[in-house]
């Protein structure tokens, strides 16, 4: 009488391990991948605030707290997009940038050392690595 190498309970155990590992893998990627609704605000290359594209709000960075600013600076989330809505810079170059919800077009305000970035996987969402300005 032949004897099987693996019996039914062995296959159940192997299947459980494999399914469990796949579930953990999927959870890991889900938990650690940033959604493109998060907005990060950088001042002098330091993360100083985060905003939610799904929640209308205005963030004010005051010159008193951030001395490299030319003056107080306002960042507004409205209708799923973020924009720099009040600032002081030569020819108001910072607030001229169109409101954005794209991970590929951060709002760059060099005179005030501020960058506003929509976080997410640009490659997955738009198939692009970068957008040239």
């Amino acid at each position: 009488m032949s004897r099987k190498l693996l019996n039914r309970s062995d296959w159940v155990v192997l299947g459980t391990i494999l399914i469990g590992a796949l579930v953990l893998y999927g959870l890991f990627h889900f938990l650690f991948s940033q959604s493109s609704s998060q907005v990060s605000v950088y001042y002098d290359d330091r993360l100083v605030a985060t905003l939610d594209l799904n929640q209308d709000e205005t963030l004010v960075l005051s010159k008193a707290d951030y001395p490299l600013l030319l003056d107080d600076l306002e960042i507004t989330v409205s209708n799923g997009k973020v924009a720099i809505t009040k600032e002081t810079s030569p020819n108001h170059i910072c607030s001229r940038q169109a409101p954005t919800s794209s991970t590929l077009t951060p709002l760059v305000c060099l005179p005030n050392h501020v960058v506003v970035r929509v976080e997410g996987d640009s490659l997955q969402e738009e198939g692009l690595d970068s957008v040239i300005r």
Binding site: P90, Q124, G127, I132
Partner: protein
């Protein structure tokens, strides 16, 4: 035997679900601002965060160094740079870093080989426009001032002694302005340093300049773009931003370009400009023949392997009529270009093929 088989299966399962499946390589990214008045984005494949951090530090340090060398507005202790050369115009030669000598020699050679539209000795004219843009109350420079300044822009009076590593502007009043070429040239230098450091695949984005090396080491996930441009799954791909106003209002991206180790540089009229009292916009790309901003197009993007050449050619093409630029590009091997015309028309050179290495978002 049964335990051995179970153990092997468990081991294989764990191995398949770890980072080992791509040889341990994954893409990391970092960003920083400052050098060349630009926001930098750096993406590279590495086997660990530590390795990537080493590359990222190399990139930031290198660009900071080249920014200081090519700076015409500020001096730095212990360093002779473009401003040092300008301050000594008509007086004495200045000993400088080889990177300055090489940039100037390349620029002067390109001036003679390709076009006299980009003149690194146009400093006196460009500084008048720069001062106007930076002023709290911008005024258009008057024609007489521009004409007088243009008398001090003879590129043949830039004297380079390669052996002594010196540069001498032989006439007082002369000044160098390398803004049209310096960032692209620096990108090429940094690219070479990264390759030498062992970085196999990377992309650096510096505002209007992108330099790439290698291909994706991990295939990208399907996207809306990959349906029309499958090559973007395995090769770095960049978009060109729309000017966002005029004929390009309500348009985000205009084209997508697949790179094969190439660099891309865009010159456009919508980033650095001032608006005069009468509502006329004056941008920063000045035609050396008219001494005023050129208005043949909204932007031009050049794709070629060498980033320094891409920067020089994009500045050149912006300063010539579109049809002249098209003929010029077709005469050059290994160079492609995209023009965003004033009326909203998008033109591109023959080496860019829809669906192969190029996609036009707006038809």
């Amino acid at each position: 035997m049964r335990k051995l088989i179970m153990g092997l299966c468990l081991f294989l399962t764990l191995t398949l679900l770890t980072a080992c499946q791509n040889g341990g390589m994954q893409m990391y990214e970092s960003h920083f601002m400052g050098p060349f008045d630009t926001q930098f984005e750096f993406r590279a494949y590495a086997d660990s965060q530590d390795t990537f951090d080493t590359y990222a530090k190399l990139v930031e340090d290198a660009f900071t160094h080249y920014h200081e060398l090519y700076d015409q507005y500020n001096t730095y202790e212990g360093l002779n740079n473009i401003k040092t050369i300008n301050d000594a115009a008509g007086d004495h030669a200045v000993e400088v870093d080889e990177a300055i000598i090489d940039l100037l020699e390349m620029s002067i050679a390109d001036y003679h080989t390709y076009s006299s539209k980009v003149n690194v000795a146009l400093g006196p004219v460009l500084s008048l426009w720069h001062d106007a843009r930076e002023s709290a109350d911008p005024q258009v420079p008057d024609a007489d001032s521009l004409e007088r300044a243009s008398q001090y822009c003879d590129i043949e009076k830039v004297q380079i002694d390669k052996e002594a590593k010196t540069v001498f502007l032989t006439e007082a009043g002369m000044s160098l302005d390398v803004g049209a070429v310096a960032k692209g040239y620096a990108c090429e230098l940094v690219k070479n340093q990264l390759v030498e450091a062992g970085c196999e695949s990377f992309l650096i984005s510096a505002g209007g300049n992108v330099v790439s090396y290698g291909h994706r080491l991990v295939e990208a996930k399907p996207s809306s773009l990959s349906k029309v441009l499958p090559a973007c799954l395995n090769q770095f791909t960049v978009g060109v931003q729309s000017p966002g106003d005029g004929a390009y209002a309500n348009i985000a991206n205009t084209v997508a370009i697949v790179l094969d180790g190439q660099s891309v540089v865009t010159s456009g009229d919508y980033q650095r400009y001032f608006t005069a009292a009468d509502g006329t916009r004056y941008h920063h790309l000045i035609d050396p023949e008219t001494l005023y901003p050129a208005n043949y197009m909204r932007s031009v993007t050049v794709i070629t392997e060498d980033s320094g050449l891409a920067d020089f050619l994009s500045s050149t093409l912006f300063l010539m009529p579109v049809d002249e630029g098209q003929a010029f590009v077709e005469s050059l091997e290994g160079v492609e270009a995209v023009w965003l015309c004033n009326d909203g028309t998008i033109l591109y050179s023959s080496g860019l093929v829809e669906g192969e290495n190029f996609h036009l978002y707006v038809s």
